[in-house]
Amino acid sequence: MFHDADALLLARFQFAFTISFHFIFPAFSIGLASYLAVLEALWLKTGKALYLDLYKYWLKIFAITFAMGVVSGIVMSYQFGTNWAVFSDRAGPVVGPLMAYEVLTAFFLEAGFLGVMLFGMQKVGKRLHFFATLMVAIGTFISAFWIISVNSWMQTPTGYAINGDGQFVPAAGWLPIIFNPSFPYRLVHTVIAAYLTTALAVGAAGAWHLLKNADHAHARKMFSMAMWMAALVAPVQVFVGDLHGLNTLEHQPAKVMAMEGHYQSHPHGAPLILFGIPKDGEQRMEHVIEVPKLSSLILKHDADAPLAGLDSIKPENRPPVKVVFWSFRVMVGLGLLMLLLGVCSLVARAAKKLYDWRWLHRFALVMGPSGFIAVVAGWVTTEVGRQPFTVYGLMRTAESASPLAAPAVATSLIVFVIVYFAVFGMGTWYLFRLMAKAPQPHESDPPNAPAHAAGITPAPAMQSGTNNAVKGPETTHG
């Protein structure tokens, strides 16, 4: 039957599965919340109904995404205890307070203002409603701040001491813990990824409607805004990703060796392996296509610089290359395609063909899901790459798990898989259905607003767009 090793592996599968699924939603809602804040600000500033229509259109999509993020997130907050009890006991005094701050500063803020954001248009003033949108947007960012700090501390632990019970405790103050060495890079890389992911999803929706009707004013506006975002942010992301990689090389060299497929050390300049088949059992690459010395040039800015390989790491401390090597290539490959899309959109804009080049719309459409895939691939790279540790170099994954019987974990894993695919599958289908409909003038509110019976009905803040309805196709920007 089952053994401890099975229980551990099952617990790891369960965590990987639930966290990957979960992160898809915040990756979208962090970006969407900011996009909604921008749309509402533009509406307030210009008074153009088009912006309000777009706001309401994406608000309905945001509501579903956010709900899925909340429920899959509650699972995560308890799973540390259910499946990783030893980790929770030992690392809790350090990571627990950071997560408690996430709840206190972010989750309540988002939840407290979400109701007004979704249903309060008729009940509070325009400015107060915009304030609610802003609070939700800021909340998503604060949430990212704390949870990325937790993750980064687990990757590059600093500022801790170990007490008599084997617990990690703060050594001197919290700043070295919160602002641990990999935190700034990971935070910026992750938040930009969320913005880029959202821009690509919004751009794909815009492209889809442009392909059906190239004159659609709302589709034009959202496509244009999304392409600006992609064009401006994709190059920044490549740059930040490079910095993040150098930071990883400094603090977690074994992870970079796995990303590069460097089983062997290269004393006289390491090649950049473009493709190959990693063989973890034999600790070597097969069928390699490589550029000599390029890896040393990228990582050390010197073509002849020596670069250590996994043969310099104790066998029991090596991460599995197979997964990391490929997930890294998926992320980088998609990132380069995003860069290309951004460049193409700039060319089209310069040629005044942004709304005419159908191949560009098709390209943007195909790239719609690429952000989500890249984000998950990136997390797989960083999480599998830090194995076999939960607290890097200090606490092994194998000693972190709860003392659970394998059948218990197997059962829960199976149920999680079934429920997540069913529930979030349906949710994704509803998202597609909403996006398949083009935004309309006088776009409707979310459907489940609690209307008041009688008596108290504050002056409706938003008699939307009756005076300044859409005036033909919007003129383009730039």
């Binding site: 203002f113 429920v419 019976a453």
Partner: protein
């Protein structure tokens, strides 16, 4: 008392507050889910659902604070309790997935609305049962060796934990009915009043049964309640509950709208205080005390700075959000 003892007790109080806030706020919310199938398809269900749509997310955040706060302030207990109660906790989490998404999904898919309405109810019932079972399993004790849970993965299932499970289900149903009595009018309100008359005596019976059972589960419970001079204080709890029950019956007879909800919460508040009397100073009965499980003072102090500023702020804007959606809920889903 030195600082770390004070801090530990303060954090126990803050977490107790978070859990009670969760019961106050998500109790009626889950209760409406439990009662959902009794309501007529269409108007009545839409009204009931809409009355909680803007606030359910905030309500559940207290549960996250309870879990996250436990991990931060009492990491040892968090690890042991969650792994001991693996099955009911996982069931609760999955149940909350179903009922959480139902709020959005039922409006997006009229063709499958019966499925999401069922998911809303099944999720609410399962979550309530799982929370009650968790409470009972904790009260009856958890097997601990060193710093680990040492029992099996079915230990939580006993007649007592099933009793507490049903008690919480009943309590939430009563809260849900009281909430609708306050927030709706017409037929829905009448319907809610009938439900209150059913669930109030059932809930009171449950409170009596759990209270009567607990002192016999171990000497420590008996001593904490009935030893002199403690009994002079502890005896006030059932006395006040009797008084509140009388007021509740009176408010029902007079068709008050808000009073039954508030009185029910007051009864639950006292029951909760009773739990505190039974447990203190243990977090896991007879094995782990608050002090055993406490995170170092530096961790608790760091969080206390934030909590003392942020919790009042949270209460303020949560209250504001309820204020925005004050008054009776109309039948129309939107206008």
């Amino acid at each position: 008392m030195d600082d770390s003892v004070v801090l530990t007790n303060v954090w126990a109080a803050i977490l107790a507050f978070a859990v009670f806030m969760y019961v106050v706020m998500d109790g009626f919310d889950l209760g409406i889910g439990i009662l959902f199938p009794i309501f007529g398809v269409g108007r009545e269900r839409d009204t009931a659902m809409n009355s909680i749509a803007p606030v359910w997310d905030g309500n559940e955040t207290w549960l996250v604070l309870g879990g996250g706060g436990l991990m931060a302030a009492f990491p040892l207990a968090y690890g042991i309790v969650m792994s001991a109660l693996y099955a009911p906790i996982i069931a609760m989490l999955l149940a909350l997935v179903f009922r959480g998404v139902a709020f959005e999904f039922r409006w997006r898919d009229p063709a499958h609305r019966p499925i999401w309405d069922f998911a809303f109810t099944a999720g609410s019932i399962t979550a309530a049962l799982a929370q009650g079972i968790t409470l009972g399993a904790l009260l009856q004790g958890i097997e601990v060796e060193g710093r680990h849970y040492a029992g099996g993965w079915w230990d939580w299932l006993t007649p007592f934990s099933l009793l507490t499970g049903f008690s919480v289900l009943s309590a939430y149903s009563l809260l849900g009915a009281c909430w609708l009595n306050w927030k709706t009018d017409g037929e829905t309100q009448k319907h809610a009043r009938r439900l209150m008359r059913i669930w109030a005596p059932v809930t009171l019976g449950c409170i009596l049964a759990v209270s009567a059972y607990t002192p016999f589960m171990g000497d420590q419970y008996w001593d904490r309640w009935f030893s002199m001079p403690r009994v002079l204080i502890t005896a006030q709890v059932p006395l006040i509950i009797c008084f509140l029950t009388w007021r509740f019956v009176r408010s029902l007879r007079r068709d008050y709208e808000l009073a039954p909800f508030v009185l029910t919460l007051a009864v639950f508040g006292l029951s909760f205080a009773g739990l505190g009397i039974s447990m203190y100073p243990y977090l896991i009965p007879n094995s782990i005390t608050l002090a055993d499980a406490a995170a170092p003072a530096s961790s608790q102090a760091f969080m206390l700075v934030g909590a003392s500023i942020l919790v009042p702020l949270i209460l303020a804007y949560t209250a504001w959000s309820y204020w925005v959606f004050r008054g009776k809920v109309a039948h129309e889903g939107y206008h």
